[in-house]
Symmetry: C2
DNA sequence: GTCTATAGGAAGATAGAC
DNA sequence: GTCTATCTTCCTATAGAC
C-alpha cells in the first residue's frame, strides 16, 4: 500500500512548520523527526534525497498552495478591488495572521540560498507580476508604475513578517493587509 | 600587548559579514575561522564564550553603529525632512545599497531567535520609536498615527532587504530609501 | 513502512606547545 | 596570541530486522 494521502499531508504540514521556523540549516533531522513522529530512517524512506528533498518538497507544495490561495484569486473574477480583498484575506490565513514566517525568507539564508535561490527568485517575480497586472487593471497607471506598487506591497508584507518574527507583534502585518485594496487609489 | 583595536575591528567586520550572510546556525566555526584567517582556538582566545559570544559581540557592535549612523542623525540638527534624508543616505551605506542583510532579520531565525529575541525586539522598538518622533515633529499627526507610519517604513526597509536577498535586485530597496523623506507629506 | 543500530563526518569546544 | 592536535557531541545518512 502506498503512503496514504492524508498521512503525507499531515507529515508535510509538520515539515513545513519546521523549515519555516528555523530555516534550512536549523532544520536538523532530529527536529524533523520529532516534529513528524517518524524516525530518521522512516523520513529517508519517504524522502530518499534526505533533508534537501524534504525542503524541496515543502517549498514546491507551499508554492502550489500560494498559487491556489493567493495568485489564482488575484486572476479570478470580480473587480480588481474585490480581488485584492480576497488576496488579503487569504494571505492572512496563509501566514497565520502574521505568526508564520515566509519560506521564501527563511530559506534564502545560508545553505538554503545556494540550493533554492532560483526557485525563490521566480516565486517573488511571479507574485509581483501577478499583483502588478491587477494594479494596472484597477488604475490608469503605467505598467512600470504598477509593478513598483506591486513590489512595494510585497516588500511591506515581507517586512511585516520579519517584524512579527522579531517582535512577536502581528498588528502591523494585519494593518498592511487591510491597506492592500487601497493601493488602487494611488495617483 | 592587548589585541590591537585595528585588528579587532577588522576581525569583527569579517565575523559580522558571516553572521549577516548565513545566520546563526549557518555560521560554523569553520566559516568564521576561514573568514577571519584565525584558527578556531584563536577565535576562542578572543571570544571565550565561543560562537554565541561572537554573535553577541557582533550584534552589540552593529547596534552601536546603527545608533551612531542612523538614530543619532535622526535626533540631531536640521528640519525633520533633512534628518530623514540623512537617515536614508546612511541606511544606504549601512546596508551596502541593499546588498547586506539585516542582522535583526537573519539572527531571528532558529537558535538565534532563542538567544537574541530580547535584543532584537528592543532594537526594532527603538528604531520605530525614534523614527516616529521625527514623523510627529514634521507633521500634525497623532502620536499613534506617527508610530504607524514609522512602522510602515521599517517594514518596507526590512522587506526590501528580504526581496534583495531573494532576488538579487536592489533597486526596490533604493526606491524605498528615496521615498523616506516624503512620508512627512502624509495626511 | 517503520523501527533499532550504527557508520562516517562535521559540529562546537578545549589542551597545551610555541 | 596563535597554532596543531584532540575531545565530545551532534549531524546526515545507511543497513538490515521486523
Amino acid at each position: 500500500m502506498p503512503i496514504t494521502k492524508v498521512e503525507s499531508e499531515d507529515i508535510l504540514d509538520r515539515l513545513t512548520e519546521v523549515f519555516r521556523t528555523v530555516g534550512y540549516e536549523g532544520a536538523t533531522l532530529s527536529k524533523l523527526s520529532e516534529a513528524t513522529g517518524l524516525q530518521r530512517a522512516s523520513l529517508y524512506h519517504r524522502f530518499p534525497g534526505g533533508k534537501k528533498e524534504m525542503a524541496e518538497t515543502v517549498l514546491l507544495r507551499c508554492g502550489s498552495q500560494f498559487q491556489e490561495q493567493i495568485l489564482n484569486p488575484l486572476k479570478g473574477e470580480g473587480t480588481p478591488e474585490e480581488r485584492l480583498q480576497r488576496m488579503a484575506r487569504n494571505l492572512s490565513q496563509y501566514y497565520q495572521k502574521g505568526n508564520a514566517a515566509c519560506l521564501l525568507d527563511t530559506l534564502s539564508v545560508g545553505e538554503g540560498q545556494d540550493i533554492f535561490s532560483q526557485h525563490i527568485q521566480e516565486s517573488f517575480a511571479l507574485w509581483i507580476e501577478t499583483l502588478a497586472k491587477v494594479v494596472q487593471e484597477g488604475t490608469d497607471l503605467t505598467k512600470a508604475r504598477s509593478k513598483q506598487i506591486a513590489e512595494d506591497q510585497v516588500m511591506k508584507i515581507q517586512g511585516a513578517l520579519v517584524l512579527a518574527r522579531g517582535t512577536g507583534v502581528t498588528k502591523p502585518f494585519q494593518r498592511v493587509l487591510q491597506g492592500l485594496p487601497e493601493i488602487l487609489k494611488t495617483k
